[in-house]
Symmetry: C2
Subunit: 366 residues, 2 copies
């Protein structure tokens, strides 16, 4: 079976690695000359809105899926003329607009932080008065890794923040004093069967994910699954989806969802019986789902900006290195490390050793 | 780092899948238009004795390794002019000649079945008289999967067998009434560190490997490791090597070795902490070796001739499918199934279910 992927970055690359043993053949569409999935898949070099290229991708594939969610509705519609498209375009349209996303959460009874739609400066002032400050102003579209966001602490900051975000349609969200961030990764197949990975606990630095730990005994596991199942079913979803939550005083508040394989699921490559990449492809190609259980204590640490020496990382037990083949650049995700251990204590020790190696490189470069 | 592989079949394909996350980029040299590693690697389409192509491979890679051992010495020498070659060409030369191989086993004190070199019909008669019948006549070179072999039971069969093997240089081996077949897979890095996978127990059908079970508690584990270590060290070996044994009355008798990743090590992809493919690449590229321990009860079943439906196999728990992207053909290895389970009893149950699915396809085709 021939699978097309819109986007040729590391998520596509890891899909190709997981799907090739299933007998799948891949074509990625990506405008970059050095798209990192392009070394192990056919690549169509073209812009994401190049209609001829989109037609070529869909015509040469039995189905099309996505590496990212910021795909204009017109692109998904164009692809769907020629080939089945999974996950459903409606899921992409909802995920790429924070207002539609929050409204869907509301409608499904999934708790979220209080928010207001903000389309002009007057609405921003009104929203700030209603929600109180501090609050977070976020563009409705195109935000990721902390981009397109401003924290507002005082009333006199509103106007400058509104200008910095270029007057784009926004939402204002009450600032949540959360204690933890968790994510639920799940997969739904074409027949509606749903499987859940263990809840993941995530830590960020400068708005970018650094470390994920699989947390199968988390007391919020059950609630996270309930919310995620409602979301999957309402979207008639097919494939892997990640739903991110803040945890405030032991309660989940949904932040956002990603209609795709997700950085907080990379630990599953070695850490789960079937990885998120394999299960996404099983789901979209109509194969039965694989088991999502963790094989033991598992974590993932991102490699951001520059790579530590492979030798140092691979000398550690229980460590698997994933280099994405991307050029180093500050703030850029260019690899990750999967970490497994026979016990949770040993897992924490190994995470610390990996983090020390990464910190050493950061210092050497500073 | 750029790695060249001589051969572009399933072993090369699984190396590419294991090495891409390490940041390696691959070029395979293979004469076949549809070499199955060619869909995920650069391919040079050329004969294995095409000197210009060999030069191009070595010039465009930082090192070269092999997918198979039947490489003329001149080819390895040609490659070595331009790039380091691992494993060492001497190991290939020894493995491809049964007489050199047996003599090396003798020299290292590794027990083998009694044998004689046979260069003409008179020598064959003499050898049969000395060893007694039944015995096995094997060509010194080019034998694999039971090809190039004749079992001799009566004296009047000698001449016909000699003619059938076209008068090629042979050895005659005493027939061993063995109870089991096992293989030891090991990896040695550039600094001489050696790691061993659990001993594997193998079963064959019509001379072709069908099923391998990782057998970490095998009482012959220690002896197999001792023999394999001597072999690796005498060859100054770098990479993965497999040494196959017959077990007769609780004792090991070496059959042959393969200077490469091996079919009896495919279970390690999901079943070991680091797979044989990853460890081969870690070794030849100078990276530290990964752990070779089994992650639990593990086995592998080959898919020969034709593929059962993916749906049936993937509906079973603990099963991973590896399709090689090769055209179906009687007797051809076109895929395998990795099987893991929480207990040995459950592993056996899962193996039986996989074998039943495979048998069902065989019957439907018959």
């Amino acid at each position: 079976m021939r699978v097309g992927i819109l986007g040729g970055g590391q998520l596509a690359r890891m899909m190709v690695l997981a799907g090739t043993p299933l007998g799948l053949e891949f074509t990625v569409l990506d405008p970059a000359e050095d798209a990192c999935a392009g070394v192990i898949a056919k690549q169509i070099h073209a812009a994401y809105d190049d209609e001829e290229a989109l037609d070529r991708l869909a015509n040469n594939c039995d189905l099309v899926t996505f590496e990212f969610e910021n795909v204009p509705a017109a692109v998904a519609a164009r692809l769907a003329r020629h080939a089945p498209v999974f996950p459903p375009p409606q899921a992409l349209a909802t995920a790429q607009d924070r207002l539609l996303e929050k409204r869907l959460f509301d409608q499904l009874g999934i708790p979220v932080a209080r928010y207001r739609a903000v389309d002009d400066l007057a609405a921003l002032r009104q929203a700030a008065a209603e929600l109180g400050l501090p609050a977070v102003l976020k563009t409705r579209t195109q935000g990721y890794d902390g981009k397109g966001q401003r924290v507002l602490r005082k009333e006199d900051e509103l106007e400058a923040a509104w200008r910095e975000l270029a007057g784009a349609p926004c939402i204002l969200e009450a600032m949540i004093p959360f204690q933890r961030e968790v994510s639920q990764i799940a997969v739904r197949d074409r027949h509606g069967e749903v499987r859940f990975y263990p809840l993941c606990e995530n830590s960020h630095r400068h708005g970018i994910l650094m470390t994920t730990r699989a947390s199968p005994d988390d007391p919020l596991q059950g609630a996270a699954r309930q919310h995620t199942r409602k979301l999957l079913e309402s979207l008639h979803y097919v494939g892997v989806l990640a739903l991110e939550f803040f945890v405030r005083d032991g309660e989940l508040l949904a932040n956002e969802f990603a209609p795709r394989v997700h950085n907080t699921g990379h630990w599953s490559i070695e850490g789960a019986i079937s990885s998120q990449f394999e299960n996404h492809l099983r789901a979209v190609t109509g194969l039965p789902l694989g088991e999502t259980d963790a094989r033991g204590p598992s974590a993932m640490v991102n490699l951001i900006g520059e790579l530590p020496p492979s030798e140092a990382l691979l000398a550690l037990p229980g460590v698997h290195l994933h280099r994405y083949g991307k050029a180093p650049k500050p703030g850029r995700k260019i690899g990750h490390v999967g970490i497994q251990a026979p016990s949770s204590a040993e897992l924490e020790a190994r995470i610390r050793r990996v983090e020390a190696i990464i910190a050493g490189v950061g210092q050497a470069a500073a």
